[in-house]
Amino acid sequence: MPYYDEIELGDEIGPVEKVATDDEVSSFCEVWGTSSPNRFTDAETAAKSGMKGGPIVPGIMTMAMMAQLLTDWGGPGSIKDLDLVFRQPVPHNRALTLAATITDIREEDGENLAECDILMTGTEGERYIGGKAIVTLQSR
């Protein structure tokens, strides 16, 4: 895990590539307790909701994926704030690129904070999700 003293503005976290498969989305919807049929697992319901590309990945599932990018980097308890805007529906079974960029480094109330922009993008210029995260890090 990185130390606060070692990071700089502009440092990148990731990118990592992930895919949300049909099975994973179905499993997530079960845990989540979503009623069926829904636009996440059912093509017809998705079409009725205006989703032209088929069923979509739930926003909260994509959020869990974004959180993993940060906890894999900064540690399991490192996220202080994760704030995401869902800009485009995220499709199943497609390569998703997750990456963050450190945009601010500061000490606040005795904590060492790194603030980052965090993005989920597609292979053809799609900007599925954008947002901000604040991560706490240890000093060396």
Partner: protein, 220 residues
């Protein structure tokens, strides 16, 4: 000079970047060899008369100007040189206003309004023109928009070519690291909001991408 003509700070509901974070990030871009002289904060549906960024501007040597991005029935419009009289004449929160009236009122009260991201699908000027609407007062549009999806800036290019319009560039940043991804290169000196209006009226400017502002240092 290179100005990012379209950006949103946390004063806009959907932005996550503070003005301080933008100007700090501009230092990163400068270290990487890019030229960024200033930004215009075009907050959604409002004008922040009460905000003063002069300390940040001098601390980081970045020109910080204020403008607005208004929702209209014909898409979003960027407004520069906003005056008290303009905010009294036009309700900035009215998402159904007629942008033609906005453009006229802006000029009447020493400001300038122009279409943001005209190639944007569903909400860009291109779509309204193809529906038969006419916009006689439009002479400048935002040709480069950093928030565009694939194909949208190309539609703005086509609009400029087919209608003989001038273009500006703005990042449409809502996140810190997106500031200044595209800008406008003015051949005049701009120090305050009113100068932006004069610079637009001078027609002596063109849109640029950040990558084209490398000043000799090695890009990273």
């Amino acid at each position: 000079m290179y100005l990012d003509m379209h950006s949103h700070s946390v004063s806009s509901d959907d932005s996550r970047a503070t003005v301080e974070q933008y100007v700090k990030w501009i230092q990163v871009l400068r270290k990487r060899g890019h030229i960024v002289d200033g930004i215009v904060l075009t907050e959604h549906r409002k004008f922040d008369f009460d905000k003063n960024y002069s300390d940040l501007a001098s601390q980081y040597d970045v020109l910080i100007l204020k403008g607005s991005e208004l929702d209209t029935r014909y898409g979003h419009f960027l407004v520069y040189g906003v005056t008290k009289q303009l905010t009294e004449a036009i309700d900035f929160g009215d998402t159904r206003m007629d942008s033609r009236e906005l453009m006229k009122a802006a000029r009447q009260y020493d400001a300038f309004a122009l279409p943001a991201h005209p190639g944007r699908f569903g909400i860009g000027l291109t779509d309204y023109i193809s529906q038969g609407e006419t916009f006689e007062d439009v002479s400048i549009v935002e040709r480069f928009n950093g928030g565009s999806r694939p194909g949208e800036n190309e539609r703005a290019d086509e609009l400029c070519e087919s209608h003989g319009l001038l273009g500006i560039g703005g990042s449409d940043a809502h996140l810190t690291s997106h500031i200044a991804t595209c800008m406008t290169n003015f051949n005049t000196t701009i120090r305050k909001e009113g100068d932006v209006v004069d610079a637009l009226l001078s027609k002596d400017f063109h849109p640029v991408w950040l990558k084209d502002t490398i000043n000799g240092a090695s890009p990273t």
